[in-house]
């Protein structure tokens, strides 16, 4: 809502020196979000005067037509002689009154004006357009003023060019502040001044001979005021003051009748509609649309109506979408002059509608037809149902005053019974909400200031004013008191919550994981969870891979990425590529976050969340239904890496990142979780089929790691041999974890034995190791693979694995026989399980 300060001052007698900023500060403190205070004409300096065009000489020979004009500016130029002015506009004729800026003046910009040589003449100033004067940018031509003004009259005052405009972002609860009246009320309270309420007008009582109106849907329309005005001069223009106020409020002057309805809406907050009465067929009827009905709205669009749409109709059918936009068929007609007869035809009889519609019905129509309007914005937020009578009267008065019309005596006012809604609160309720003592007297006074009727002692019965439909609950009243007393005055106290338990195990694990991976050289990134089909293709996923079953966005930011991620890798790989594209060579990234999976959910309940009531707690079954409507959202952790894991340096060559680093990153995560990870060979897209590790905790598959498939690397333009790991954190910790039994530390000497075993190349080292461990028994303290050898000495398709075994007993020094015995047992088990042979 844009509120010109000059307009507001009409209703509140603000102190003379009070600036727009001063007022804005006070309104902000009272809860109005004043976004800007615009200084109109701040850098404007005269002389800027009315001029009369005496002569026009058309100059030719230039790229565009140019006029050399003589303009009477009265005595404003000090000589009384006509002013010579060169002008590029053509929308004026000899005899027209225009706005002239004289040399020495400054136009908004600032643009200093001086006499200058142009198009072969000296131009002593300029004939001004609305844009040049900062009045608005809708017209390209210059301003042609009504004929009544005398040349030489100061146009700065005439056009009210100097003003301040407060631009207020009105919140959804404060519909009444979408009017100068409402903002003036807040200003009056803020300055403790009386308000001259512009809605306090003499309105004749309703009678039976007003315009014919039938309200068939009183739930959708609980008030309908209609008035008739006849004998309107079709050529009458909106007076300058009215145009200027509408302009400053951010609307565009259109025609007199429309300008008047807009003006009254801005003034009182009541949207009005003016119909050309000659184009209405029978009674104005308010009803819901019928299936298949159509309406061409004022914007020229034909709209198919929904049976919920609230309509204004006549005998011919719909003539307006109630409270949203009128129909083209009954629009006020622009005056048209018949070139032969010289007779002007146009709207001469008007029906003014001031109705009150159901906010929900209006909001739904707006959404349905994607048709926001100034009227609908107000109805959605709640219009004063009592303002209709005054608003209609105001419009009638203006049509009479400035359009030469005659008001008809008939007054239609159809009102559905409106229950009086009052709220009972303890007089100290605002005190208890605020944590500060205001006292009953203050509470009552503040509530009365906002327009409430208040009765009672310790318990108050409060009846909000008609313009505050938002005041429905005790806390609404508390807020009124607290905001007017000032949020700034609130004390600062600290509550004492019960002793807390700190973070959950899952939250602590997330931190440990982040610290461990960052400690291992990975950099955390937080990617958008949006992915596209192409990356899943690049991954080489099978058609039935559950990772292809994505949740999709109905309104994605990018059509390329319309789905929610089922894996973290697409985002991480894109981030990797971005870093490499920006010149990084060695990159290691990680992310922890949610994936969105449909597999494993019940298709019968998925995406079918019930709309539960809000006047009670939902039952546990209902809450379960909500949860059953959601996809699975497992928390996952993933790493990607490319380039060198250790860089080249003065110490020697670096070490390239490999599948093993990816697997090790999984072990890093597992160690943070306190679980033991076992690794098995696997083939799983998007990993290299020969370099893919399946990660297990016990028998549960928790994720994969390794080098990416070369085709995926190529398709995604990744560095060669890019590696990746991803695992499901919840599966990782599903078995519970983290409990550590304190180890018993033996002080007896260690016995070290080495074993080299030859196995088939296809035998996983992990199996050999677990066989050795199993065979070695409890004396084995640790086991470490220290060499892998392949080559001629052991034959093709074989590999030699060399292990260092350390044996130790808790209670004695092991004898050589004991250590060798344990070693032999370990070998025997490896031989039995893996077909290993001892390397000679």
């Amino acid at each position: 809502m844009r509120v010109p300060l000059s307009w507001l001052r009409e209703y509140v007698d603000l102190p003379a020196g009070e600036s727009g900023r001063d007022l804005a500060d006070k309104l902000v403190r009272a809860g109005l979000e004043v976004e800007t205070v615009e200084q109109l004409g701040g850098d404007l300096k005269g002389p800027l005067v009315v001029g009369k065009v005496l002569a026009i000489e058309e100059l030719t020979g230039f790229k565009k037509p140019i006029r050399y004009c003589q303009v009477d500016v009265g005595d404003a130029n000090g000589t009384g002689e006509p002013q010579n002015i060169v002008c590029g506009a053509r929308n004026f004729a000899v005899g027209d009154k225009v706005v002239v800026v004289l040399p020495g003046a400054v136009l908004p910009g600032p643009f200093p004006i001086s006499a200058r040589q142009t198009y072969g003449h000296t131009s002593e100033g300029m004939i001004c357009s609305a844009r040049e004067l900062g009045m608005g940018d809708e017209h390209d031509g210059i301003i042609v003023l009504p004929a009544e003004f005398t040349p030489g009259t100061d146009a700065i005052e005439l056009l009210e060019l100097v003003d301040e405009v407060l631009d207020i972002a009105v919140t959804a609860d404060r519909g009444y502040c979408l009017s100068v009246r409402g903002v003036a009320r807040e200003a009056a309270i803020a300055y403790d001044l009386p308000l001259s309420d512009p809605a306090l007008l003499d309105v004749p009582p309703a009678n039976s001979y007003g315009p014919l109106v039938k309200v068939e849907d009183p739930a959708g329309c609980d008030r309908f005021v209609a008035r008739g005005v006849v004998g309107i001069e079709p050529t009458a223009l909106s007076p300058l003051w009215l145009q200027r106020r509408i302009q400053k409020a951010g609307m565009r002057p259109i025609s007199l009748a429309v300008d008047i309805t807009n003006y009254v809406m801005l003034e009182l907050g009541q949207p009005l509609h003016a119909y050309d009465r000659s184009r209405i067929d029978g009674a104005i009827t308010v009803r819901r649309a019928r299936a298949g009905e159509k309406l061409r709205t004022l914007d020229g669009v034909e709209r198919t109506l929904d049976v919920e749409d609230l309509l204004i109709c006549d005998n011919s059918g719909p003539i307006g979408l109630a409270g949203v936009m009128g129909g083209a068929g009954t629009e006020i007609a622009t005056a048209v002059e018949d070139p032969e007869t010289g007779r002007v035809s146009g709207t001469t009889e008007v029906v003014v509608e001031a109705a009150h519609f159901d906010p929900v019905a209006i909001a739904r129509s707006v959404r349905r037809h994607k048709l926001p309007s100034e009227a609908a914005k107000r109805f959605e937020r709640g219009v004063d149902p009592e303002a209709g009578k005054a608003a209609a009267q105001r419009a009638v008065d203006l049509l009479v005053l400035v359009a030469g019309g005659t008001a008809e005596a008939g007054v239609t006012d159809i009102a559905a019974p409106h229950p009086v809604h009052s709220i009972t609160i303890a007089a100290d309720h605002p005190d208890r909400v605020a944590g500060q003592e205001y006292g009953r007297e203050t509470v009552v006074r503040r509530l009365q200031e906002v327009g409430c009727t208040v009765v009672g002692g310790d318990v108050l019965v409060v009846t909000p004013p008609s313009w505050r439909p938002d005041l429905t609950d005790p806390n609404d009243l508390a807020e009124e008191v607290i905001r007017l007393e000032g949020y700034a005055e609130l004390p600062s106290t600290l509550p004492t919550p019960p002793a807390g338990k700190g973070l959950t195990e899952a939250q602590r694990l997330r931190r440990r994981t982040g610290l461990a991976l960052a400690g291992a050289g990975y950099v955390e990134v937080l990617n958008y969870p949006f992915i596209g089909e192409t990356v899943l293709d690049a991954f080489g996923l099978d058609a039935d891979d559950p990772r292809r079953e994505t949740v999709k966005l109905a309104n994605p930011i990018s059509d390329e990425e319309p789905s929610l991620r089922t894996t973290l890798l697409p985002g991480l790989l894109a981030a990797l590529r971005r870093n490499v594209g920006r010149g990084a060579t060695d990159v290691a990234l990680f992310e922890q976050g949610l994936a969105f999976r449909v597999d494993g959910t019940d298709p019968g309940t998925l995406f079918k969340a019930p709309r539960l009531p809000v006047d009670r707690r939902p039952t546990d079954e209902e809450i379960a239904q909500l949860d059953a409507a959601l996809p699975r959202q497992p928390r996952r952790v993933a790493t990607v890496l490319a380039g060198n894991r250790e860089p080249d340096g003065w110490w020697g060559k670096g070490r390239a990142a490999t599948w093993a680093d990816a697997v090790e990153s999984a072990r890093t995560v597992a160690a943070a979780a306190g679980v033991e990870l076992t690794v098995r060979q696997d083939q799983h897209a998007p990993w290299h089929p020969g370099r893919c590790a399946a990660l297990y905790v016990g028998e549960t598959l928790v994720g994969h790691a390794g080098e990416l498939h070369p085709r995926t690397v190529k398709a995604l333009h990744l560095p060669e041999r890019t590696c990746a790991m991803e695992l499901d954190v919840e599966l990782l910790t599903a078995d519970g974890s983290g409990h550590v039994e304190g180890p018993r530390i033996s002080g007896f000497p260690v016995a070290t034995q080495d074993v080299a075993l030859v196995v088939d190349a296809a035998v996983p080292a992990a199996e050999v190791e677990s066989a050795l461990r199993a065979g070695a028994g409890p004396l084995l303290e640790s086991l470490r693979l220290f060499d892998v050898y392949t080559g001629e000495q052991i034959g093709a398709d074989k590999k030699s694995l060399a292990y260092a075994l350390r044996f130790r007993a808790p209670d004695r020094t092991l004898t050589a026989d004991e250590a060798s015995g344990a070693r032999e047992a370990a070998i025997a088990e490896a031989v039995a399980r893996t077909g290993a042979s001892l390397r000679g």
Partner: protein, 374 residues
Amino acid sequence: MSAPNKSYDPVEVEALKPEEIERLRDEALAAFEAAADLAALQEAKVAHTGDRSPLSLANREIGALPPQAKKEAGQRVGQARGAVNKALAERRAVLEAERDARVLTEEAVDVTLPFDRAPRGARHPLTTLSERLGDIFTAMGYAVAEGPEVEAEWLNFDALNMGPDHPARSTQDTFFLKDATGHSTDGVVLRTHTSGVQIRSMLAASEPPIYVICPGRVFRSDELDATHTPVFSQIELLAVDEGLTMADLKGTLDHMVVSLFGEGMKTRLRPNYFPFTEPSAEMDMVCFNCRGESVGNPDRPCRTCSSEGWIELGGCGMVNPRVLIACGIDPNRYSGFAFGFGIERLLMFRHNVEDMRDIVEGDVRFTLPFGMEI
């Protein structure tokens, strides 16, 4: 030791003359002194103190002297040998020190060589800043609550007093969802705030007190630019207990900004409207950079707050009793307060980050300087 020699022969004991002993001693001392390194010293040692050295030989002769002379010669030779051994030890100590110094000098390296062999990683500042906030509140007794990012509309909107026709609901730029076959879904959205977690916390608690903070990612269909991102991080707080007031809300906010920015920080509330709180407020904090001193002071402009003195932080208010009712909490007995704000914005003004895109794009050059904690 040789047996006493009873057949005393003065000729044979020439070596035991005092002058001779002194000479041998001086020769030894001179030899040691002349030894340039430990190897030379070792040679001198063998020559002058070894079994075949004159002094050793002289020592051996003592036994052949008559008892009278034996004592005198013994003393003389003993003193000489003592002096020699002492000189040897001293010279050795000197030479060893020289050798050690030389070796350590030879082993010296350039310790300014870089050794970035194990590259450092880092955690994302949004993560660590969110944790930092979490720590402030867990220290006060709050729990950290979390919930799903794809959320039921009832939890994201309806229960928060934002019914289907509420005007505020259409201003949230909600991402709506379709299933894998492209059909629209019923009552499920990408959450627009973490408030659904507040509702879940209230539904899960059998009875207040409830003190939780809810950090998490939220989604609004804004294009990414220097100040907007469709995916951002929020932290919300909810407290429901007997007798909670707006003053408690104010105090909690004040405590938070003091914890984050140091003593003397405070917040300011401005009335606003949110469906889920009543009364509602916008919260500002004193500019931590200029502490308000840039206001009306053109000589000291402040970039952080654009010389406004205050920085807008987010929204807050007393939990709307309607929200409590939807969660089965008796609003006549309990009241609550809540607030929420975006972590990105906090990160931007706390660390002078100018472009939102740097936060979201995952460039390691942005993240690395933030290290492990913030």
